[in-house]
């Protein structure tokens, strides 16, 4: 067991954990951030996607020792800035407007993969959006509405 310190959604976090403990388990069990879901647990489905230093990763494949000193963003952090206005992140609003969630288990991961795409300046390009969320499986197969929602808040194509 060692102590690991990092930022989660802008706030300092410190956990006492074995270095090989999955970031996913630290988030859900040690920090109570259960917005991040576990799907396959082997990097196939993307349900556990979070951002580490701005990059989207599967948190089931990241040992906590590699998160020491890093900046983690989870779905709970998406609306932090908007919450003061009493609203959600624009991306979350777009998901609601477009009905881009059915059973919902892929949604947190979809949102984080899409957020990484948008933060990197991604445009409202269908093919590029599909590539950006190619690592996120929607078992309800509601991809069209998800792509539409992301396109709605992406910068317009020239």
């Amino acid at each position: 067991m060692s102590a690991y310190r990092f930022l989660v959604n802008g706030a300092p976090a410190e956990v006492e954990a074995p270095g090989m403990r999955r970031l996913l388990d630290v988030l859900r069990e040690d920090l109570g951030l259960t917005g991040t879901k576990e799907g396959c647990g082997e990097g196939e489905c993307g349900a556990c996607s979070v951002l580490v230093d701005g990059q989207v990763v599967d948190s089931c494949l990241v040992p906590i020792c590699q998160v020491e000193g890093r900046i983690v963003r989870t779905v709970e952090g998406l609306s932090l800035a908007a919450r003061e206005r009493g609203s959600l992140d624009t991306l979350q609003e777009a998901f609601l407007d477009h009905g881009a969630a059915q059973c919902g288990i892929c949604t947190p991961g979809m949102l984080m993969a899409a957020r990484a795409y948008l933060d990197a300046g991604g445009a409202a390009d269908d093919g590029a959006i599909r590539e950006a969320i190619a690592g996120n499986l929607c078992r309800c197969t509601g991809y069209t509405k998800i792509v539409d929602a992301i396109a709605a808040v992406a910068k317009p194509l020239d």
């Binding site: 270095g19 090989m20 040992p63 020792c65 590539e131």
Partner: protein, 283 residues
């Protein structure tokens, strides 16, 4: 769920060498293979782990006199974004883009693909087709291993337990051409059914130094010597392409498994080679 063996996170290579030399130790970099492999279901759980994520000596992409050198910890995303890789090794950039999706490309590393030594490792046929050299090191010193000599048997490599992969050197002889094609179930998140990499040097007397390398069709990534012989000294005409494809189908001995059948792999490998030759010939 992966086991949680003790793990050390050294900052320097010499510390990593000490740890490796002191007993059985499983290195982990991006974790995209290792985190899935250490659940205990696929073999014994490692007694202890070695985290490579803070060792800066294993990073970086540089153009040197004798080739393009990629540190073992270079991620697929870094390969895709690298101006040097795009200019000098576009086939590797293409291969990196077929691996998993953003989540895997952000974490998975070239060194990890080599160390894991899966017969389906997507970058490995490119290493063979490019005559890449793998530099490994440990307390006993460094040595360079030809990619062809590295993959010994199914998931068995020339890397000793006390050694780490340090970097990969891709020679860049002038006029060298390299092509890549992966066939999987879907474009993203697919483990390959067939991977083909084709390398050659164009000259006044036809092609030379031809390399036909394949993944997912044998216990290791392989080169198809008979097919290379057909193409050596030839040009990519329709007749040559037919003969090369036929030779390839004859010399491959793939297996049936969960991802595909031997027949499919044989037919698709030949078809993909034919297509690459057609593209090269411009007909």
């Amino acid at each position: 769920m992966p086991a949680e063996p003790p793990i050390d996170t050294p900052k320097h290579l010499f510390e990593a060498y000490e740890l490796l030399a002191s007993g059985p130790t499983r290195p982990i970099a991006g974790g995209t293979d290792v985190m899935v492999a250490i659940t205990g279901e696929l073999g014994p759980i490692p007694e202890r782990m070695l985290d490579l994520s803070r060792i800066e000596e294993l990073r970086g992409i540089s153009l040197e006199a004798d080739g393009l050198v990629l540190g073992a910890r270079t991620t697929y995303t870094e390969i895709r974004r690298s101006a040097l890789c795009r200019e000098h090794l576009p086939a590797l950039v293409e291969a990196a883009g077929t691996i998993g999706a953003a989540q895997i490309q952000n974490r998975g590393t070239l060194g990890g693909n080599i160390a894991n030594a899966s017969p389906a490792g997507d970058t490995l046929p490119i290493l063979l087709a490019a005559d890449a050299r793998i530099l490994v090191g440990g307390q006993r010193g460094e040595r360079e291993i030809k990619a062809l000599d590295y993959f010994v048997a199914y998931r068995k490599t020339a890397l000793e337990p006390d050694e780490l992969i340090l970097h990969v050197r891709f020679p860049l002889p002038g006029g060298r051409q390299l092509r890549f094609r992966k066939v999987g179930t879907r474009r993203a998140q697919a483990i390959s059914k067939v991977v083909v990499a084709l390398g050659w040097q164009d000259g006044p007397r036809g092609w030379s130094d031809v390399r036909v390398a394949l993944g997912s069709v044998a216990a290791t990534p392989i080169r198809a010597a008979g097919t290379e012989a057909v193409l050596e000294g030839a040009r990519p005409t329709p007749e040559v392409a037919d003969r090369a494809a036929e030779t390839l189908a004859g010399e491959l001995q793939p297996i049936d498994d969960v991802r595909s059948t031997a027949d499919y792999r044989r037919a698709v490998s030949a078809r993909v080679l034919h297509r690459l030759l057609r593209d090269a010939g411009g007909w």
